[in-house]
Symmetry: C2
Subunit: 611 residues, 2 copies
């Protein structure tokens, strides 16, 4: 049977369904929580320093020294944001994403702007992380550089299938790589620092000579470099979204996890930036900054170097995986609020929201192809969504403190206000410096999303009004006339007739007269097989089978308004699909013709052909 | 409404339906019968002479003189065939196509071979006639020569649409061109003959010099030229197929029409061949022989010349149109005999058999593209089908005379035997000389068609056995359990429930418990809205909505074998088609899952959204 085969295939590809009781046993400890929820924030270390350097290098090798002060400013802002988000965690123990915080405190439009930003952000998290992960691979294996778009798409496919199997399970699988990455980075920074302090930092023999200064060192250039560096902040909000996934006490565990994450993130980001400076690393198109550093620190192409690249790749893939949990979850919340089609509300078989997962993969794939799988080209698109949601989320918290009051509301509000102001400022800087590099796409997409969300909501509200039982007087005593179109006297027709007879006391068989001889034959046989059902013969001056039948139904419906008309059709179910070619699609035609007629129901009684 | 718009478009494109009573008023007189049924036979005059000359010219200009004796032989054979077919007309006053004659007298396989040959023949009639018609145009307007494939396809499209409007009507429209062609040809031959007799035949200043002899004048070359010339015979059978279309006395009128047609055909064919000889016409790629003759006789590019070309083009299009009547008619007969899918049996709205018309156009279009719209390349494919059906039809008549006996059966049988022998001989010559030029395609296609016909018949016979009432004990007292899956309590569900209550005393509402709170709410509301129908709550450990429902149905069906299970679903009919995006396709999924379960009927109660 076709459906058995299909579900069998589904089992093999996406695994067997998880019982919903299991969900509670899979709560996160601080250790696994850090692994599952902070990969996005930590992994940005892999490209944040490089993104700063790639802007500065335009003003010559001397300008690269400015990366360190820029990184310090970013680290400070990150600390502010983390403290601001800590308050969100305790205020929203059931998960306080930017959409929920904005919806509760700022109203519909800001909430929808936040939702749009987040959805876009998730898609870009997948695209940027996978592009950066593939860059880690192609730095180590330069011969794969030409295939990087194909590699990114392969990763998207793997993540999609993995997530269709269920998100918690993939979380556990990926716990090891996070710690592997943290260990490698700390080792790299530690050994590098020791070399530097011992005076042995020689630089990693950069594959290209230092490029000449092509642009003056303007404020705009500095701000652009700063904007790029702010990628280091992406992903901090993940823990505050995922509070209910923690073991109790959820809020406390989540807050501790976020602080650990922030400390690690700042340490690694500053460490890499300082080392890059000390080792005179020049960014280039074909090898990442981290790869150059690892080569310099661990020696050319040794096992420690390859381990670093592997760890970087793995954490980035894991970061992309974060979005695979967040996107369908937000889509499901939006669908529950009726801002997205309800298909997104379904949890599917394995607690993974299949529709969202597939949608996310598609969009990320399109971006990766459009931008050639290049991290640097994707970054300008990434930042807008991130900082819109940061700003709205924290502004929402300010409003919340004011509204709720309480003993220390002013100091709490102040922390979030600083957070909102700082991230709002970053947003303006990002928009100003990045609009022309692609951020305009996002600035355009956000309002378009909002319009779509509103239209969707309006549609569902209209439907709900039409479905409402309030003030509706339930119609009673509606009769049901059953009509059985008869094409000849054979077993399928007789079975349909017998089925129809059970449905209503008012059953009529209808035959369209095209050939009077044939009609006479049918009428003669009717005494034996009609079983008391009256046979109505319709004339067809135009030799059409359909039109007299439809007219008869319409006349009957017009004469009996409010009553039901049920058309019972025998329908062959052929033994092989291509046998459909040999049978009229008359049932389909009749269904199509009657689809828009109120109170008219078309029922097919299947007749299963055995061969 | 969508279907109203569709039928409106259909009306505009293919016209309004013809009542079947009209069919009898549209019977053909001898005059209109000649126009409608003989265009195929007469129009071959436009290319038959040329096809002989194109072969002979390979042996040098001197060989062209042999065209006249070859044409005389062909004319003699044509006369034999016509006398043979006259007997078919009186024997089969209801229409005696090769398939019917072979089926009645020779058995299934010869009949199917004849049917295959005829179907292929009709496709080639369209392709060859249109290619030749376009050659008439491009002879007069050489600048259009490069677009001849596009021109042929445009003609196919026009014929297809015209015929979807109805065949009788198009017959009347095309009556004038036949007589216009006959008049032009007789005038051309008359004036040409007068010039020749007056000693003024000078030759039409051929655009190319006489090519040198490239091949020896072998018997094979002569036979090839003869085969090509036999195209002059195509179409003679049209009148005998169309006997019932004549006014009474049908057979007599048809016979007289066929004799007139044969006389005209032979006169014109011989006339053109003799004139071509007298005017020293040399065939070439870019201008037809008739065009060259018309230029020579009527003077360079005068109105009489253009009239000749126009008349030639028109009759050829009309000849193609003959196939548009014959192909769907034969397909319908074959479908009635269950050798073709029954879709071909339908007469559609306008007595035109739409499926056959579209199929014919497609096949002809493919051939025209594949052979570059070139008459000469298509001719080798044409002849096999024509002569297979000639031979089988007349052989069938011989058997018929023997079987029926009667006073003068031997002389009648002798006439048909001569016809069969002569056409059989021509068939062998054609197969031998043309196999390598493309006729092999047809030699392959005919048995493939026969295999397909038989497979189709076998399928329908199997189905008929399964539908047969003979020896079948009608099952009695089958109960019907009606199951209404409930997703929530709203108007569409309540209406579906009310409908379901009318269908059976055993109705159950089924709700899948995913969220216990929601379930409790539904149960609380059920007292008010359930209206006495029991609410069954199914547990769903895997959070799936579908699986518990399907399991429940399956369990019930297993416990009550032979009884019906009817699943009643509310189904939204959105006001706009794209609103479908906003609603679950759950009804569709349930239908798909239950499609292959015996005794299970899925019924949708439409709920029409107003906006």
């Amino acid at each position: 049977m076709a459906e058995d085969l299909l579900s069998e295939i589904k089992r093999v590809v996406v695994g067997k369904p998880i019982s919903s009781h299991l969900a509670h046993h899979e709560r996160l400890s601080r250790l696994t929580g850090l692994a599952v929820l902070s990969s996005d924030a930590l992994s940005s270390v892999a490209y944040a320093t490089e993104e700063i350097l790639r802007v500065l290098v335009a003003a010559g090798a001397g300008a690269l020294a400015l990366a360190t002060p820029i990184a310090l400013v970013i680290a400070a802002i990150l600390a502010v944001v983390v403290f601001s988000y800590r308050q969100t965690i305790s205020a929203y123990p059931t998960g306080g994403g930017a959409y929920i915080v904005a919806r509760d405190n700022l109203g519909e439009t800001p909430a929808l702007v936040a939702a749009a930003s987040l959805l876009i952000d998730y898609v870009l998290t997948v695209a940027v992380s996978i592009a950066a992960g593939v860059a880690a691979i192609t730095s180590a294996l330069p011969q794969w550089h030409v295939n990087r778009v194909e590699l990114t798409l392969a990763f998207v496919l793997v993540l999609m299938l993995g997530n269709l199997r269920g998100i918690r399970e993939s979380g556990r699988i990926f716990a090891v790589p996070t710690y592997f990455f943290i260990a490698t980075m700390l080792l790299l920074i530690g050994i590098g620092a020791w070399h530097v302090l011992a005076g042995g930092a020689t630089g990693g023999a950069p594959p290209e000579p230092v490029p000449p200064a092509g642009a003056p060192l303007t404020l705009f250039l500095l701000l652009t470099a700063f904007s790029n560096g702010c990628t280091a902040m992406t992903g901090v909000e993940a823990v505050s979204n995922g509070v209910p996934a923690f073991k109790p006490p959820e809020a406390k565990n989540a807050a501790a996890t976020m602080l650990t994450m922030a400390a690690l993130s700042i340490t690694m980001f500053l460490g890499i930036t300082l080392l890059a400076h000390a080792y005179h690393v020049i960014p280039n198109e074909r090898e990442t900054v981290v790869s150059q550093l690892a080569r310099a620190v661990f020696g050319e192409r040794g096992p420690a170097y390859y381990a670093t690249q592997a760890a970087t790749m793995l954490i980035l893939v894991l970061a992309a995986n974060t979005a695979y949990a967040d996107f369908p979850r937000l889509a499901s919340i939006l669908a529950r609020d009726r801002y997205l089609p309800r298909q997104f509300m379904n949890q599917g078989d394995r607690l993974a929201f299949s529709n969202g997962i597939v949608g996310l993969s598609l969009f990320a794939g399109v971006l990766l192809v459009a931008f050639g799988g290049d991290t640097h080209s994707l970054i300008p698109l990434y930042m807008i969504g991130v900082f819109v949601s940061f700003t709205l989320s924290q502004a929402g918290m300010v409003v919340r403190w004011r509204r709720l009051g309480g003993p220390r509301w002013k100091s709490s509000a102040a922390i979030n206000a600083v957070g909102a102001a700082v991230t709002g400022l970053v947003l303006l800087v990002v928009a100003a410096t990045k609009a022309r590099e692609g951020a305009w796409i996002i600035i355009l997409l956000i309002p378009l999303h909002v319009v779509f969300f509103r239209a969707t909501r309006r549609h569902y509200d209209t439907v709900a009004r039409q479905l409402s039982l309030r003030g509706w007087s339930r119609p009673r005593g509606r009769r049901n006339t059953v009509i059985v179109p008869v094409s000849g006297i054979q077993r399928a027709v007789v079975e349909a007739l017998d089925y129809a007879k059970g449905l209503s006391p008012d059953v009529r068989a209808v035959y369209v007269n095209i050939d009077p001889e044939e009609t006479a034959r049918i009428q003669a046989q009717w005494d034996e097989w009609g079983d008391g059902v009256p046979l109505v013969v319709l004339e067809s001056p135009y030799r059409s089978l359909m039109e007299p039948l439809l007219e008869y139904i319409e006349r009957h419906a017009a004469a009996n308004p409010g009553d039901y008309v049920t058309v019972v059709l025998p329908e062959f179910v052929p033994a092989r699909w291509w046998h459909h070619l040999f049978h009229n699609q008359r049932a389909l035609l009749i269904k199509g013709a009657l689809l828009f007629k109120p109170n008219t129901i078309v029922t097919s009684v299947p007749f299963h052909l055995q061969q």
